[in-house]
């Protein structure tokens, strides 16, 4: 059946084929910058405010299909990833810049892939112009016109949700030229940035309740879809596995440092909360032309969006950064830790008396039997 959409997409592909593949975008005559990407929770080096004019920023994403372990029990699933991590890396540029993105689908993969960038305008976010079969690559240029943090994800026809919950999503951050500002227009700056990408995963179980494994990614499709359709994830995790951001992998910060945490969920709602801390400035919907909200306890990340929170640590210790659906945090895996070094501030918190027996004269105070009338 030829739908209007497939017809449009067919036309787009035909247009691409007609173009000489090596004719890269030098029509703009702008300075070029090449960026090497890093895996989450880290973000490649970048300026916050910039004096540079518009430029072309080159990124490359290589799709990797592979079997990954997603918890300490050794549960395996077939992942589809941009650059090998789930989520894929964060790509940072400034408002008015052009992103020139090379999407590579090595011949070793089994599946066609593409990329839909929520920050981009037109062409199904680029999805219509980037479909690559194994052994192909495509180059897309798009202009960053809206400042904020935005999801990108794979959107192949008919299989979009499967590709997304198999790991094919990430975030683009478009910073305002002048950098971030608070609700009163005062500049905001971060000393560190972390990108926490949340994944809802749907691993099928056998009749004994054990997680199943599959010889190939294709064989996992039918069962996985069946689990997905029930909408109850088997795992809800950060950076692709339970414990990816705890223990030896915990994030770090120092008292006095301002940390930006970008949180994305490409498919499902989430509600990040920093236990023992707050969101000093939070762009809950992730778009920097809106003033940030202040002093938040928990913020809401709509499925298919990214949000950003700025927090200056005031007290040392271990902070847990969780999805405050605590069942998902504790039972399904959506917990991260931040180790914060520095000097304890007794004004903010002090233990007046550690756990000790209840004094005898207080025991009866709440006992109705001894209340005299």
């Amino acid at each position: 059946m030829l739908t209007r959409r497939t017809a449009l997409m067919g036309a787009a592909v035909a247009a691409l084929v007609a173009m000489a593949p090596m004719a890269l975008a030098d029509d703009l005559k702008l300075p070029r910058q090449h960026v090497d990407l890093v895996a989450p929770p880290f973000v490649h080096p970048h300026e916050q405010a910039t004096k540079d004019g518009p430029k072309i920023v080159e990124f490359k994403l290589t799709v990797q299909e592979k079997e990954v372990v997603i918890d300490d029990a050794g549960t395996k699933m077939w992942a589809m990833t941009y650059n090998g991590s789930m989520p894929g890396p964060m790509m940072v540029l400034h408002e008015g810049d052009y992103m020139e993105l090379t999407l590579v689908n090595p011949a070793t993969n089994a599946m066609p892939h593409n990329i839909d960038l929520h920050a981009a305008t037109g062409g199904l976010g680029g999805g219509a112009l980037t479909k690559v079969d194994p052994g192909e690559q495509a180059v897309l240029r798009w202009k960053a016109t809206r400042p904020g943090v935005f999801i990108y994800h794979c959107a192949p026809e008919g299989m979009i949700p499967w590709h997304v919950v198999s790991g094919m999503h990430g975030t683009v951050m478009v910073l305002p030229h002048v950098g971030l500002k608070d609700d009163a227009g005062k500049p905001l700056h971060y000393d560190r940035i972390y990108y926490v990408g949340e994944n809802d995963l749907y691993v099928p179980k056998d009749e004994n309740g054990k997680y199943k494994t599959y010889e190939s990614i294709g064989e996992s499709y039918a069962d996985t879809t069946e689990v997905m359709r029930k909408l109850i994830p088997s795992h809800v995790v950060f950076e692709g596995r339970v414990g990816a951001l705890t223990g030896k992998n915990a994030m770090t910060a120092k008292v006095g440092e301002t940390v930006m945490i970008v949180h994305s969920e490409a498919n499902r709602d989430s509600r990040p909360h920093l236990i023992g801390g707050h969101g000093d400035y939070v762009w809950e919907t992730g778009k920097f032309n809106n003033p940030p909200e202040r002093d938040l306890e928990t913020w809401f990340i709509r499925g298919g969006s990214a949000g950003a929170a700025l927090y200056t640590f005031r007290e040392p210790g271990i902070y847990a950064y969780v999805n405050h659906n605590l069942i998902e945090a504790v039972e399904l895996g959506a917990t991260a830790h931040i180790k914060v070094d520095g000097k304890w501030n007794e004004d903010l918190m002090k233990q007046i008396s550690p756990a000790s027996p209840i004094p005898a004269d207080r025991v009866g105070a709440a006992d109705p039997a001894i209340v005299t009338r």
Partner: protein
């Protein structure tokens, strides 16, 4: 008063003498030790006391004490297996838990202190020998060189974060077992006392309750006994609520939990057991 004392002495004397006489005439047949039981001779050892200790109202390191296991300790070489627990389940004497899909010749895991205790009562009835969970002292003695002696830094109330961070680092640095699924008996080797798989990937319930102890004035005073939380032993010591079957961390709970919860039993006997065939 004097008479009473004399009477007491007399009864005591009788009580100690009579059994000897009986024994002289009808030598009892020593019950046969079950297969896999090990007899450890009594002895003294350095024991890091379990619980939360405080001195002058401030947390302090758990004391290291020289303690004595006064009598020979009969302990099972292996942890209780899934096959053994399944038999108790089949007898409707043990709560139902998930059994492994494959071989059942692996330690039973995913069991609570209540499950373990129910099994001990069932196997005691079956064999006529009193089986029970070891105390933490007994476990540490039997575990010998495999008993951990981890003294986590104590919290300085003026800066609680320091100890907290140090504990986190220590816990994160612990080597976690490579495999978390239960393995056949012997996979993790034997210790110097012949026990198999001590401090492998299955942590073991003990019967010891969680204690809060004050060391004020140079004497030990238990200020709180919580038997809803028991001492769990393995590659590191931890304290677990008795109905927990699946240890895990997350949310506010930082640190690394045991991989699995299982158990091993000791046998209490009034007379000596006959070992060997």
């Amino acid at each position: 008063m004097l008479i009473a004392l004399k009477l007491k002495a007399l009864t005591l004397g009788a009580a100690t003498v009579t059994p000897l006489l009986v024994m002289a005439f009808t030598p009892p047949v020593a019950p046969k030790a079950p297969e896999g039981a090990l007899m450890l001779t009594s002895g003294a050892f350095g024991y890091r006391v379990a619980g939360d200790f405080s001195l002058d109202g401030k947390p302090t390191t758990n004391p290291l004490q020289r303690i004595k296991i006064p009598r020979a300790l009969v302990v099972m070489k292996n942890q209780v297996t899934a096959a053994e627990y399944a038999r108790c389940m089949a007898d409707r004497a043990c709560p139902r838990v998930a059994l492994p899909a494959g071989s059942r010749d692996v330690p039973i895991v995913g069991v609570s202190w209540h499950d373990a205790t129910a099994y001990a009562q069932w196997i005691s009835k079956k064999t006529g020998l009193t089986h029970r969970l070891p105390t933490d002292e007994e476990w540490s003695y039997a575990a010998a060189e495999r008993a951990g002696d981890e003294t986590l830094p104590v919290v300085d109330p003026a800066d609680p974060a320091k100890a907290w961070l140090a504990r986190y680092e220590a816990e994160a640095a612990r080597g976690q077992p490579q495999v978390t699924t239960p393995q056949p008996a012997g996979t993790f080797g034997e210790n110097s006392k012949g026990l198999a798989d001590v401090a492998g990937n299955v942590w073991e319930w003990t019967d010891s309750c969680f204690l809060r102890v004050s060391l004020d004035g140079g004497r030990e005073r238990v200020t709180n006994t919580n038997c809803g939380v028991r001492v769990v032993e393995g590659a590191h010591r931890t304290y677990m609520t008795d109905f927990i079957r699946d240890p895990r961390t997350g949310g506010c709970a930082a640190g690394v939990p045991p991989s699995n919860l299982g158990f091993r039993l000791v046998i209490e006997t009034k007379t000596r057991l006959a070992f060997g065939s």
